[in-house]
């Protein structure tokens, strides 16, 4: 019952790295459903750039961090498009896992099995920044 999750998690991470690092290059380049809805009323060219008309998407403004080295899912300085997209995907997967996994690990309940009652007053030596999250009951 209390098998360790780590082998599965590592396997899953490899799948995610493969998807973001390789398969991502075969993704559709067209705008998604949301952007396409906002383009209604405008005409676009083969690169999906607005060429005329009037539509909500024309109000779009610059992204605050649009000059990030990883902006638009590419690595600045890497000229090979395949490599640039794949590398940005790999970095993104690892970054998301580190940030998400790290936060969840720090926030988790300590010293209790998966099916323990949530009312045990644990977390006495809680990790930094999680003290106020102790809200059993």
């Amino acid at each position: 019952m209390s098998k360790r999750p780590w082998p599965f998690v590592l396997g899953g991470l490899l799948v995610a790295l493969l998807l973001a690092g390789v398969v991502s290059n075969y993704a559709s380049p067209h705008p998604d459903g949301l952007d396409s809805s906002l383009l209604k009323g405008c005409t676009v060219n083969a690169d999906d750039e607005i060429t005329g008309g009037s539509c909500p998407a024309q109000q779009a403004k610059q992204h605050e961090l649009g000059d990030s080295p990883l902006a638009d899912y590419g690595v600045r300085g890497v000229t090979n498009g395949f490599l640039s997209t794949g590398l940005s995907g790999v970095i993104g997967v690892l970054l998301t896992f580190a940030l998400g996994g790290g936060l969840f690990w720090l926030t988790r309940r300590r010293g209790t099995g998966p099916d323990a009652t949530p009312d045990t007053p644990d977390g006495t030596g809680a990790a930094p920044g999680t003290a106020r999250a102790n809200s059993a009951g």
């Binding site: 899953g12 998807l19 993704a27 380049p29 998604d32 809805s37 750039e49 961090l65 993104g92 988790r108």
Partner: protein, 239 residues
């Protein structure tokens, strides 16, 4: 114009409405941390990290939908709710959106509250309500799990996309001349098709996980079949 952006860009919804939704999103995410912590143990925490990373990866995989020149991608709310539960699941999707906005320039930072509200909160909540209902009435088989995943994913995408329409009604920067229903219809039409893709991806993924490690599927642990005999409330009460 960048075509790789997948979420609400700056300038589409006005500042005050975006700010209101930022406060709302922050409040719900804080509640999710408090409630999700009951679920987060040594087994769920690494799984939640994986779910966030996996959603990031699959969101990069825009797939074509029937309409020419339009793509769709996973939102991930149903997948997260099935694998790690609604509270932690909402946090997983939020982590993905934060990384995308702060590192990949996708989805305006000022629009983060709107994007989190739609995809992390509305999407995950809608999915889990359906999951809780369907898993109790459908047979406990791979087929039952697949149907649960497919339907909850499809509906959650549709509902989440209408969250955007609501936000556009409140603070859209282009005067649609009273034709909000036109926008709502267009958004719904595209996201019905995207929802089919979301349903297929979610069902395939969850059924695969359930075959390999059924103990790692939160919904299978937390939601017992509707047997009439024991009236003992589920631990936690309001999962």
């Amino acid at each position: 114009m960048e075509t790789l952006a997948m979420h609400i860009s700056n300038g589409i919804i006005d500042g005050p409405v975006a700010a209101i939704f930022a406060v709302l999103a922050l409040a719900v995410l804080t509640l999710s941390v408090l409630r999700g912590r009951r679920d987060l143990d040594d087994r769920l925490a690494p799984m939640a990290g994986l779910v966030a990373a996996f959603i990031f990866a699959v969101q990069m995989l825009n797939f074509p939908i029937v309409t020419a020149g339009v793509s769709g991608h996973l939102l991930g709310g149903a997948l997260a709710a099935l694998l790690v539960g609604p509270w932690v699941g909402a946090l997983c999707v939020a982590v993905v959106l934060v990384v995308q906005a702060l590192v990949f320039g996708d989805g305006g930072v000022a629009m983060l509250g709107l994007n989190i509200t739609n995809m992390a909160i509305i999407g995950t909540a809608a999915a889990y309500l359906l999951i809780a209902l369907l898993l109790r009435v459908l047979p406990r088989t791979s087929g039952g799990l697949a149907v649960t995943a497919f339907v909850s994913a499809l509906v959650s995408v549709l509902v989440a996309s209408q969250g955007f329409v609501l936000e556009y009604w409140l603070g859209g920067t282009t005067d649609l001349g009273g034709n909000l229903t036109g926008l709502a219809g267009t958004v719904a039409g595209f996201h019905l098709l995207i929802g089919i893709g979301e349903g297929l991806i979610t069902a395939t993924t969850v059924v695969t996980v359930a075959k390999v490690r059924p103990d790692l599927v939160y919904a299978l642990r937390a939601l017992k079949p509707a047997t009439p005999a024991p009236a003992v409330p589920v631990a936690g009460g309001a999962r």
